[in-house]
């Protein structure tokens, strides 16, 4: 069970990155390749709030969320909005992520910094396995976020509008939807969530400037396994990647963990090219 808990909590981290990718993808059919770097900044801000400024946990969470939201909003204005096509946005968001990594190295250095967690620092025994409370927090957060987003996109009018935008942005405009504003809001929300996620993943991954690139790849693999545009798919993909990685490292050796993850990715894509929960996009011509 301990191995399963470790896999699920690691998978939750990947799932949280995939959720961030998905929010922007659903809203604008584009990818924000700086998403994982936004989470990395969130982890650093959480570290600064906790350790440098000695703020209470709630203030640290709010600080991380606001700072990363502002950075995401800046990214939308300078690296996304001025760029006309989605392909070029892949490059500009990747560039923005690289800038964030460089800035983090300049400000906090290259050594991993331990981000404290508000809960117990001791592992607890649960159903025969050992698990840290922050790992439970990560798993719960990923599941709650996905369920929350699902309910938002089915029950709230703005949620329906975001889904409609992803299918046909022009038709959404003709229903009175301010597509630009909603796409901007989606970016800002991913920043907000990335700040929150940074607070939760920091204790597991540490705050380190290379965190972004490590998470970006696995988050993308989680998304591809689960299916682009599907939040439940991102969750399932994240857990799959985490569990495979932990089990491969345990039974085959750590050098096989990445190999096993990509083998599973290939297997899933061969059987279901759209991913586990992905749908084939229909287009009327």
């Amino acid at each position: 069970m301990t191995l399963i808990y470790a896999g699920l909590s690691l998978g939750a981290v990947y799932a949280l990155v995939a959720i961030g990718y998905n929010i922007v993808f659903v809203a604008s059919r584009s990818f924000n390749f700086a998403q994982a770097q936004l989470m990395m900044i969130g982890a650093f801000v959480a570290y600064a709030g906790h350790v440098t400024f000695g703020l209470p946990a709630v203030a640290v969470i709010v600080l991380a969320m606001v700072v990363v939201m502002v950075i995401a909003a800046i990214e939308e204005r300078i690296a996304v909005r001025p760029v006309a096509d989605h392909q070029t946005q892949l490059i500009t968001t990747l560039g923005f992520g690289t800038v964030l990594t460089g800035l983090a190295q300049l400000i906090w250095g290259t050594q991993p910094l331990e981000v404290p967690f508000i809960g117990s620092k001791e592992a607890i025994t649960l159903a025969g396995g050992r698990v840290y409370t922050f790992e439970i927090g990560l798993i719960v957060m990923a599941v709650v976020l996905v369920v929350g987003i699902h309910l938002y996109t089915r029950r709230r009018l703005n949620g329906l509008a975001v889904v409609a935008m992803s299918q046909d942005a022009e038709a959404a405009v003709l229903r009175g939807v301010n597509v630009r504003m909603l796409a901007f809001s989606a970016f800002a929300v991913t920043g907000l969530l990335a700040g929150l996620m940074g607070f939760f993943i920091g204790p597991k991954t540490f705050a380190v400037a290379t965190l972004g690139s490590a998470l970006a790849l696995k988050g993308f693999v989680a998304l591809a396994i689960g299916g682009f545009g599907s939040f439940y798919g991102g969750l399932a993909g994240g857990f799959t990647v985490g569990l495979v990685e932990e089990h491969a490292a345990r039974y085959l050796g750590s050098e096989f963990s990445n190999l096993s993850v990509f083998a599973i990715l290939l297997l899933v894509l061969m059987i279901r090219p759209t991913g586990l929960f992905g749908k084939v996009q229909e287009r009327m011509v």
């Binding site: 009018l157 889904v163 022009e170 003709l174 229903r175 009175g176 939807v177 749908k279 229909e282 009327m284």
Partner: protein
């Protein structure tokens, strides 16, 4: 003073810098149907897109309810009461009929529960949509999708309804039903601009006919003054 709700004067528009419409003028009045006719590629759809705010204004004037539209964004025009039903049944295919209709009322700024009260109006006009409320819009027949598209537009409580080839790709019996609903909407006081390839069906419910060819108006006449439909058909063929 003109009683027109929409006045289009010497419109020039296109796609980016590419001009497709050079000089188009027409008006739309409450309780009347203005038919825009013409062959494929004549500029009818481009004209509607410009009125909706999707295409840039290169020249001329668009005035709606006494207000110039040039500086008003597309989504804000919906709030003013301009609803545009695009050709090709552009519904949100993955969302249910009910969700499609609710999205139609997005511009009203109401809460979802209040909007659900508005659905009765659409269900009265298209009863089949009540039965299909939980079906994905993409799973419906072409005629039913057209009803969803028109229903969406009507959810916004428009004063001006622009319909782009509502009969396109539909069986004749379905075309008759859609046109009957358009006639009802006209009787309810809506100003309607109808783009159609089916000349006879359009003229039957229209009050004014404007024929466009190569981005310019070649015929503009009240239907009551048309004594020879062949002349209109010839103009629509570019002859």
């Amino acid at each position: 003073m003109s009683d027109a709700l929409l006045s289009v004067a010497n419109l020039a528009t296109g796609y980016g810098d590419l001009r497709a419409v050079w000089d188009v003028s027409f008006e739309a009045r409450p309780g009347q149907v203005t038919a825009l006719l013409g062959r494929n590629g004549s500029g009818k759809t481009t004209t509607l897109r410009a009125v909706a705010g999707l295409n840039p204004l290169h020249g001329g004037e668009l005035v709606y309810d006494g207000r110039p539209l040039a500086q008003i964004s597309a989504h804000a025009r919906v709030k003013l009461g301009i609803s545009y039903v695009q050709e090709g049944k552009r519904v949100f295919r993955e969302q249910t009929v009910q969700e499609n209709l609710l999205l139609g009322g997005y511009s009203l700024g109401l809460r979802r529960r209040a909007l659900e009260g508005e659905l009765a109006r659409i269900h009265e006009l298209f009863p089949i949509l009540r039965d299909k409320r939980d079906s994905p819009a993409g799973s419906l027949s072409g005629g039913q999708q057209q009803m969803v598209a028109i229903g969406q537009a009507l959810m916004a409580r428009p004063r001006l309804l622009m319909l782009d080839e509502p009969s396109g790709g539909l069986a004749p019996s379905v075309v008759a039903e859609v046109m009957a609903r358009v006639a009802e909407l006209k009787a309810s006081g809506l100003a309607i601009v109808l783009v159609e390839q089916a000349v006879e069906a359009a003229v039957e419910i229209a009050d004014h006919v404007t024929v466009i060819d190569v981005g310019k108006v070649v015929v503009s006449s009240p239907v009551a003054e048309i004594d020879d439909l062949e002349r209109i058909k010839d103009a629509c063929m570019g002859r």
